[in-house]
Each structure stands twice: as structure tokens, then as C-alpha cells.
């Protein structure tokens, strides 16, 4: 009888040991895809600090919001970052897709640039070339702009490009009046290439752009502990940004097309961080957009 009990104990111990070993971190890795939008830099900062590795979280860089969305849709990430536009598109496909973490709202970070002025755009008889990521918030921004400035009767050529390609457009090469819908930091290179900002989310545009992390509920439950810790890490990153922006800048700089510190600082003014408790106004705005905020960590 004692022998039998001993055998059973050995078996159970081995079983537990191997089961624990086999339930390795490989199974529990959380992949989050993002772009290098200023509002997502806390994640890039956390990655560079090694905090994401501790949580078994891998950050995958995408070249654009649309590409980011596609990566998620094709199953190459467990959660993705984007605006409400990217959420609405995939929410139609996935019932359980929800925003789980809000990072910021655009306050000039999303902008429209041009090789001409708004007035000239309003008066021109030529076709207007519009460069944008059609499958992103760019489109909503452009729609809002066209409506706001009565450009509905104009012929607009929609040219769908990734921001990494849009970034290298040169105003000298443009034959037509050109509208470029972009966001920081890609505007900096465009400015150097002769384009100027004509409008942004800071000014009179009615559009409210919010940046968040999205995932399906089953993923949230599966990686709940990681997401909770990630939230703390994001808050900590933003806190570090406020406390020591230079240090923050050095970490994220390689991902930001090597912008200068001053450029980086000016970008901070293009967003409002929303990682803390949402104000009633913001909540109200989100509700109007039908942006679910129930599962937000």
C-alpha cells in the first residue's frame, strides 16, 4: 500500500512539473501591432525599456494604420492600435472586438497638407489629387474637410498610399492641386518637401479622433493579466515622458524617423493623453460616436 502511494506521488509530481514546463511562455505570448504614431510611443518606450519583454508582450511595427489593421485581421497580432475608424471597420467583422485601452485624442496630430491654399482649392477648376490611406481615419478627416470647405463639387482623385510612401512626396512633382491627409511624424518630411498644413484636428474640423488599443474579448480574457500590467506600463511610460522627456525621446527616436527633440516636443502638443480617467465631456463624445467604453482598462 505504501509503495502504491509512493508511485502515485511520483507520478503526480512529474506530471505537475512537466505540465508547468510545457505550459511555457511560448503559449502565452501577446502580440500587439502598432504604428509609430506619437500617441503610441509609450508602447515603443516600454519596449525599449524591456518592460514588454517581462510581460511576454511582443510589439510589432506596421507601416500604416491600414496595414496595422490588416495585420490584425490576418491573425498576425492579438491586439492592434488605431483610431475609431480602424475599429469600426473591423467591428463589423468581429462582434466581440472592443476598445480596451485609450491612449490619446488627436489635437492637431492629424492634419491635411497641400501644395496650395484652401481658397485656391475652393476656386480651382482642375482635378484635385488627394493622397491618403483610404482605409484609415485619413478618409474621415478628408470627408470632414471637403464638407466643411464646400469642396463637394470638385473632382477629387483619391490616391491610396501608405504614409511611408506619402511621406516622400515632393510638391515640385505635383501637377495638380494636391491634398495630403497625414499625421505626425510624417508631416515633418512633407513640410521639408514643400507641403504646408492647411487644416488639422486642432482647428475648426468637427471630427473627434481618438487612439486606442482594440482586441476581441476572448483574447482579453486569455491575456487579462498581461493587459492589466500593460496598462500600468503605459501609464508609467507617459509619466516618464512628462518627467523626463529627453530620456523618453532618446528611446523612441529611432522609430520616429530620427526627428529632433524640438520636433518631438512640438508633437506632444498635437495630442491629448487620455490614459487617465475619462472626463464626462470625452465620455459624451465617445458615446455620440458609438465608441464602446465599457471594457476600457
Amino acid at each position: 500500500m505504501l509503495k502504491l502511494i509512493m508511485y502515485i506521488k511520483i507520478i503526480i509530481s512529474l506530471f505537475i512539473t512537466i505540465t508547468l514546463i510545457s505550459c511555457s511562455s511560448y503559449d502565452n505570448k501577446l502580440k500587439i501591432s502598432t504604428t509609430n504614431w506619437i500617441g503610441y510611443t509609450p508602447l515603443i518606450y516600454a519596449k525599449e525599456k524591456g518592460w514588454l519583454k517581462e510581460l511576454n508582450i511582443e510589439l510589432v511595427m506596421a507601416s500604416s494604420l491600414a496595414e496595422n489593421m490588416n495585420l490584425y485581421a490576418s491573425g498576425n497580432s492579438d491586439a492592434y492600435l488605431g483610431t475609431q475608424h480602424e475599429y469600426n471597420i473591423l467591428a463589423k467583422k468581429y462582434d466581440s472586438l472592443k476598445p480596451i485601452m485609450i491612449f490619446d485624442r488627436s489635437n492637431g496630430g492629424d492634419l491635411i497638407m497641400s501644395n496650395t491654399s484652401i481658397k485656391e482649392l475652393q476656386n480651382t477648376q482642375k482635378d484635385i489629387d488627394a493622397y491618403l490611406e483610404i482605409d484609415s481615419i485619413n478618409y474621415d478627416l478628408l470627408k470632414d474637410f471637403i464638407k466643411s470647405y464646400n469642396l463637394e463639387n470638385k473632382t477629387i482623385n483619391y490616391i491610396n498610399e501608405e504614409q511611408v510612401q506619402i511621406e516622400f512626396l515632393d510638391s515640385k512633382d505635383m501637377k495638380n492641386p494636391t491634398i495630403i491627409v497625414t499625421y505626425v511624424p510624417f508631416n515633418l518630411t512633407l513640410e521639408k518637401n514643400g507641403f504646408s498644413k492647411i487644416i488639422s484636428t486642432k482647428e475648426s474640423l468637427d471630427i473627434f479622433i481618438v487612439d486606442a488599443m482594440f482586441t476581441k474579448m476572448d483574447i482579453l480574457y486569455k491575456h487579462k493579466k498581461q493587459f492589466m500590467e500593460l496598462k500600468k506600463v503605459v501609464d508609467k511610460s507617459i509619466e516618464n515622458l512628462k518627467q523626463n522627456p529627453k530620456e523618453f525621446y532618446k528611446k523612441v527616436k529611432p522609430y520616429m524617423n530620427n526627428i529632433t527633440f524640438n520636433e518631438f516636443q512640438s508633437m506632444q502638443e498635437d495630442i491629448w493623453w487620455l490614459n487617465k480617467e475619462l472626463s464626462p465631456i470625452i465620455k459624451n463624445r465617445l458615446n455620440k460616436m458609438n465608441f464602446p467604453s465599457r471594457d476600457i482598462i
Partner: protein, 666 residues
């Protein structure tokens, strides 16, 4: 060399385990290589795709930025790719990971032919391919390198998981399974087999039911077989020791029994009787009525003998009409002869066999262990001789092997018969010996003593017939007569003016009669005798035999008013605790002590007894007083009473009355 089932199964399991382990290991390593090969080829394929695509699409080096999305996507999709870097000989042109700032060197860490795919995947840091294109509208070619940085951590993690999975699913779980199978085999097969082996060998403990059908079948069959063997063994044992006709023990059994009894009797120094019983004229019955009637008669006789005998007696049929009977644990020869006579008496009654009334007698020869033989053959021979002697003397009788014993037994039988007849014929008389108060010489009591006045033999001393009466329980009837007579006599004496206490001797056997007290009291009341005028004399033997019962009876009588005297004090089994316990009123000093009164030591004994008795509040009576000097001595030591020839021998009633009633009157 033979292997046990356990070892055999262990070897099989170990062999299977080893083979499985090596197979699984081979499978695992092979699988690992295949997986590594697939990963490697996949990365290579992706690399080829990218290089091809870029080579075909790009026109100028500056346009490389357009392919940023492509390489970003590739890194995002493929977990095993850490980064993709496009470089020329001078600088990095495009990279998915901004940490790569300097151009990456060529990776010569592996030798392609000598390592497995898995080792290659682990050792190789980068995969490299060339992007070659021609500048638009020229024939000038530009070559760039595309390097894919393998994510080692991911590879290790992936294969580590595979390894853990392998260990779990191909090592641990099978081990657990094998262990479970081993334990199951051990529990359900090996242990039951061992139990069966033990059972086959020792047949002592029947194993409980097994769960495995085949083993249970074997167990059941074995149990049935062994039970059957046991039964047959018992049957054979009985058959080997039983006479098939009568059902009695046979000679084999007799031999065994007697051997054992001889051993026991020798150890305890006891005797037993060996009886040889032969039916008289049995052949005539067989010849005249047939063997079947003869057989039936024998069965009947066997049954009768068994019924007559006591539980611990033994009977065996050793021949056609011959039986051997062993009787032990008898108290006396008398008891033995009673048993023998009972057997013969029952056998001599008419037997009705299939409507044939048959009268048959038996002759019995008796020998004793150890005096007539110390082994079975001599006992049987001598009892056989005795049996023939019985037949010679006329059959239907018994005869002992030794003549002297024979005569003694015959004498006792006659005496027993005469004793009983004497009671019927009023041949007994009570004589009375007076008890005298030492201080004043007056008669204060008398002891009733039985005498047998035989018309043919004259006076027969109680020494002759009392012991036999005690032996054959006639003492109860005799004692009852004595009591009645003595109590009646007390009344008669009183009516004549002599109101004295009559002492009556009572034996332990009388007290064992459950009606004794009732009869005693009834007799007292019938004769209107004061119980204080009756004294019961008991001997020390009464303390020894049936102690508790005797005590109860004596206590009851004492409480009723009867006094108790302890006769022949000092000659038997006294202990002071008994004297303390039993309700003794008087101590009678035996004549043996009185004869020695004039010696120093003798006087001390008497003195001690007297003082002890006085201290215990008992009266002391000296017996066997024959000299005046003895009386003087007794007076000196304050003895209370005396009895003996000095005063008077035991007298019959008339003589007693004439001596003592006149005295009182005077």
C-alpha cells in the same frame, strides 16, 4: 532459469519502453529537423520573394523606401524573423528595426553540409540574398544585400515548447501510462497469481474473487478442486477409521485412540479399562436368520452400546461380533462395573430385527492400563483372555484379567447388594456414645453411630460398608435413614426425660442432594425436635469437596439452629480460613492427639487446639478418652467435653437409656 511473471512483465515493459523511447526520440529529432527545415525554407522562400519583387520593381536606389511596408509586413507575419535589413557595401539602406545602424557582416557560422537543419537554424544569425537591379534606362546594375535576421529567442522558445510537449506527451504520459499498466497488471494479474500459487501450495487461505475473468475461473476451479479433495480426504480418513456396517470406529481408529490415551494416561499416571466384548452365539443368529439379519443386529447392538456409554468413552468394532470399549475417567471400580453391567443389561434385552425377536447376550473381558498391559496389543490380548474366561464361566458375564481384582469386584457387588437389602430388612441400628461435660461429668449429648447387625454375618463394622456406601451413593439413602432415626430418637429420649443433643455424622454426598435441607427440616418438624438439640458432625474433607455448596447447606442449617461439629480435627485438609468461613460450633480433637496427651509435643498440640477453639468461641470435645488421667488433663486445659471408652462405648438404645435415664432420675 525460470522467470517470475513479475520479472517477465517487467522485462517486457522495459523493452517496450526502451524501444518506444528510442523510436520517439528518433521521431522527435527527425521531426525537429523537419520543422527546422520547414522554418528555414520558409524564411528563405520569403527572402527570395522579397528580393525578387524588389529586384523587378525598383528603378532607383532611392525608391527603396517604397518597399518599407513589404518588409515590415514580412517581419510582422513571420515570428522567426527578427528584422529585415537592406544594405549595400557602405550603409544600411532600409531596416525594419532602427537598432541596426551598421551593416551586418556575412554569417559564416555554419557549415552547410555538416549540420542538421535544426543546428543550422540555431547557429545561423542571418540569411542573405542579393537584390540586383538595373537603373532605369541604363545597363548599369546595382546590387544590394537583403539580410533576414533570425529571431533566435523565438526559435529557442518554439523548439523548447516542442521539447516540453515531447517530454509531456511522449515521455511522461507514456511513463505514467506504463506505470499505470504495470500497477494494474501487478494488482489484477501478478498478485492474484501469487495468491493462487500460495493457495496451491498451502491451501490454507482461500483467495477472494478476482476481477479478471480468466483468473477468477482458475481460482474458482482450484477452490472447487481443493474442496472436493478435502471432502474426499475427510471421507477417506473417515472410511479408513470407520466400520462401514456399524458406523463405529474400526481397528485403525482404535489403535490411534489407545496410543494417544496411553500417552496421556502415562503422563498423568491414570488408569483406563480396555473392554473386549464378544456377542454370545452370534454365529447361530447369522446361520439361522441370515447375514442381513445378523448385520442389522450388529447395527442395533452398536447403537445400544453407544447410547449406554458416556460421551468420553470409546467403542470400536474390531471383528465380526467383537467390540472394543475403552472406559476412562471413572471414580472407582464400582462405577466401572456399573457401566459394564449396564451395557450387558441393555444388550440382553430382546432385539426386534425385521420382525424377528432376537435375544443375545455378551461376554466381556476387562484389562487395565497400566497394570494389565502398557501397550494396545497386550491390553487387547489380556482382555481377550478375560473374555474367554467369562465365556468359560458360562457367558453373559464379565471377567477381569486378574483374579484378585475379579474377586474384589464380586465381593463389592455382593456387599452392595446386601447393604441395600439390609436397609430394607431393618438390619441397621444406631448406637449412641455419650458426650460428657468435663467440669461436672454430666451427659450433655450423644453421637449416633450406625451399626449393621446382619442375621448371617453378625455385626459388620461401619469401616467395611460405609466406604462402599459413599462410593456407590448408597450413603444418601443410608444417611437419610440415620437422620430420621437419630432425630426420632432424640424425641424419644426427651420423652423419657433425657433431653440431650444428638450428633449425627453427615457426608458431603448427602449435602449434595438438593432435597437434603428440606428433608432435614421436615424430619425435625415432624418429630417436633428443637433444632438446637441436633448437632451435625462433618469431617475436614467437606472443606475440600464441593466447598461452596457444602457451606451454603451448613450455613442454612446453622441459621435454622442446628449446631455443627468438626470431627477428627487436625487429621485432614483443614485450613484456618475454612474454619473461619464455615459455621463451626464444636471442634472434636481426634483420638490420635489424645493418645499422645502425656508427651510434651502431644500436649502442646492439644493445648493449642483447645486455646484456638476457645479463642474462636468454639466448644472443644476430646475424642477417644479412655483414662482418668486424660480427663484430669483435659480439665486442666479447660477442654469442654469428652467422649470415649472411659465413659462408655457406643450403646444400643436400651442400654443407653438404662444407663443414662436412670442416672438422671437418680
Amino acid at each position: 532459469m525460470r522467470l517470475s511473471v513479475k520479472k517477465f512483465i517487467s522485462i517486457c515493459i522495459i523493452a517496450v519502453a526502451l524501444v518506444s523511447f528510442f523510436s520517439f526520440s528518433h521521431f522527435y529529432i527527425s521531426n525537429q529537423n523537419k520543422t527546422a527545415s520547414v522554418i528555414y525554407k520558409s524564411i528563405k522562400s520569403d527572402m527570395n520573394e522579397i528580393t525578387y519583387h524588389i529586384s523587378k520593381e525598383i528603378k532607383y536606389k532611392e525608391d527603396l523606401y517604397k518597399f518599407r511596408t513589404l518588409i515590415d509586413r514580412m517581419v510582422a507575419i513571420d515570428d522567426f524573423i527578427k528584422a529585415i535589413v537592406i544594405q549595400d557595401n557602405k550603409e544600411i539602406l532600409l531596416s525594419t528595426d532602427p537598432h541596426y545602424k551598421k551593416i551586418l557582416p556575412n554569417d559564416f557560422n555554419y557549415k552547410e553540409k555538416e549540420t542538421s537543419e535544426y543546428e543550422k537554424l540555431l547557429s545561423q544569425k542571418t540569411l542573405e540574398d542579393d537584390i540586383k537591379f538595373y537603373i532605369e534606362n541604363t545597363n548599369k546594375s546595382v546590387t544590394m544585400q537583403l539580410l533576414i535576421v533570425i529571431d533566435k529567442e523565438e526559435v529557442l522558445l518554439y523548439f523548447g515548447k516542442k521539447e516540453s510537449d515531447f517530454l509531456l506527451y511522449f515521455i511522461l504520459i507514456p511513463t505514467v501510462l506504463v506505470l499505470f499498466i504495470w500497477l494494474s497488471i501487478d494488482f489484477f494479474i501478478i498478485k492474484p497469481l501469487e495468491k493462487l500459487r500460495q493457495y496451491a501450495y498451502y491451501q490454507n487461505k482461500v483467495p477472494k474473487s478476482f476481477l479478471v475473468k480468466e483468473l477468477e475461473t482458475i481460482r474458482y476451479s482450484m477452490v472447487q478442486t481443493y474442496n472436493r479433495l478435502d471432502d474426499e480426504k475427510k471421507e477417506l480418513f473417515i472410511m479408513a477409521r470407520t466400520d462401514s456396517l456399524s458406523g463405529l470406529a474400526n481397528k485403525n481408529s482404535l489403535n490411534e485412540y489407545v496410543e494417544r490415551l496411553i500417552a496421556t494416561s502415562s503422563r498423568h499416571k491414570k488408569e483406563f479399562a480396555f473392554l473386549f466384548l464378544d456377542l454370545d452365539h452370534f454365529k447361530i443368529v447369522n446361520d439361522s436368520l441370515g447375514h442381513n439379519i445378523g448385520d442389522e443386529l450388529l447395527k442395533n447392538i452398536s447403537s445400544i452400546i453407544t447410547q449406554v456409554l458416556r460421551a468420553n468413552d470409546f467403542v470400536a468394532r474390531i471383528g465380526g461380533d467383537e467390540f472394543a470399549i475403552i472406559i476412562h475417567e471413572y471414580k472407582s471400580l464400582m462405577e466401572l462395573t456399573i457401566i459394564i453391567e449396564r451395557i450387558q443389561d441393555r444388550l440382553s434385552k430382546t432385539h426386534l430385527i425385521q420382525t424377528n425377536p432376537i435375544d443375545i447376550t455378551s461376554s466381556i473381558g476387562v484389562s487395565f492400563y497400566p497394570k494389565d498391559g502398557e501397550d494396545i496389543s497386550s491390553l487387547m490380548k489380556h482382555s481377550d483372555i478375560a473374555m474367554y474366561e467369562a465365556k468359560a464361566l458360562g457367558r453373559s458375564r464379565y471377567h477381569f484379567y486378574t483374579n484378585e481384582l475379579n474377586e474384589r469386584v464380586q465381593r463389592n457387588i455382593k456387599l452392595d447388594k446386601d447393604m441395600r437389602l439390609a436397609l430394607t430388612n431393618n438390619e441397621y441400628q444406631l448406637f449412641y456414645q455419650p458426650k460428657i461435660d468435663i467440669t461436672n461429668g454430666t451427659i450433655i449429648g450423644a453421637e449416633a453411630l450406625i451399626r449393621w447387625i446382619s442375621p448371617s454375618k453378625g455385626i459388620i463394622s461401619p469401616d467395611i460398608f460405609i466406604p462402599l456406601a459413599e462410593e456407590n451413593a448408597f450413603i444418601k439413602d443410608l444417611g437419610h435413614w440415620v437422620l430420621n432415626e437419630a432425630i426420632k430418637q432424640q424425641r424419644l429420649f426427651k420423652e423419657k426425660g433425657l433431653d440431650i443433643c444428638i450428633s449425627i455424622n453427615v457426608s458431603s454426598k448427602q449435602l449434595s442432594d438438593e432435597n437434603f435441607i428440606l428433608n432435614f427440616i421436615n424430619t425435625l418438624e415432624a418429630n417436633k425436635v428443637n433444632p438446637k438439640m441436633i448437632d451435625i458432625e462433618i469431617t475436614e474433607y467437606m472443606f475440600f469437596e464441593q466447598n461452596e455448596n457444602n457451606y451454603k447447606v451448613l450455613k442454612e442449617l446453622h441459621d435454622y439452629g442446628v449446631s455443627i461439629s468438626l470431627d477428627d480435627f487436625g487429621t485432614g485438609y483443614s485450613s484456618l480460613s475454612y474454619i473461619k468461613k464455615f459455621p463451626i460450633d464444636n471442634l472434636k480433637i481426634d483420638k490420635v492427639f489424645m493418645d499422645d496427651y502425656n508427651t510434651y509435643s502431644g500436649a502442646i498440640f492439644i493445648d493449642t487446639i483447645v486455646k484456638m477453639g476457645q479463642t474462636l468461641n468454639m466448644k472443644i470435645i476430646a475424642e477417644g478418652v479412655e483414662e482418668k488421667e486424660q480427663i484430669e488433663y483435659l480439665k486442666k486445659i479447660n477442654c469442654d467435653m469428652y467422649q470415649g471408652y472411659y465413659e462408655s462405648k457406643p450403646l444400643e438404645v436400651k442400654a443407653f437409656e438404662s444407663k443414662y435415664i436412670k442416672k438422671i432420675v437418680n
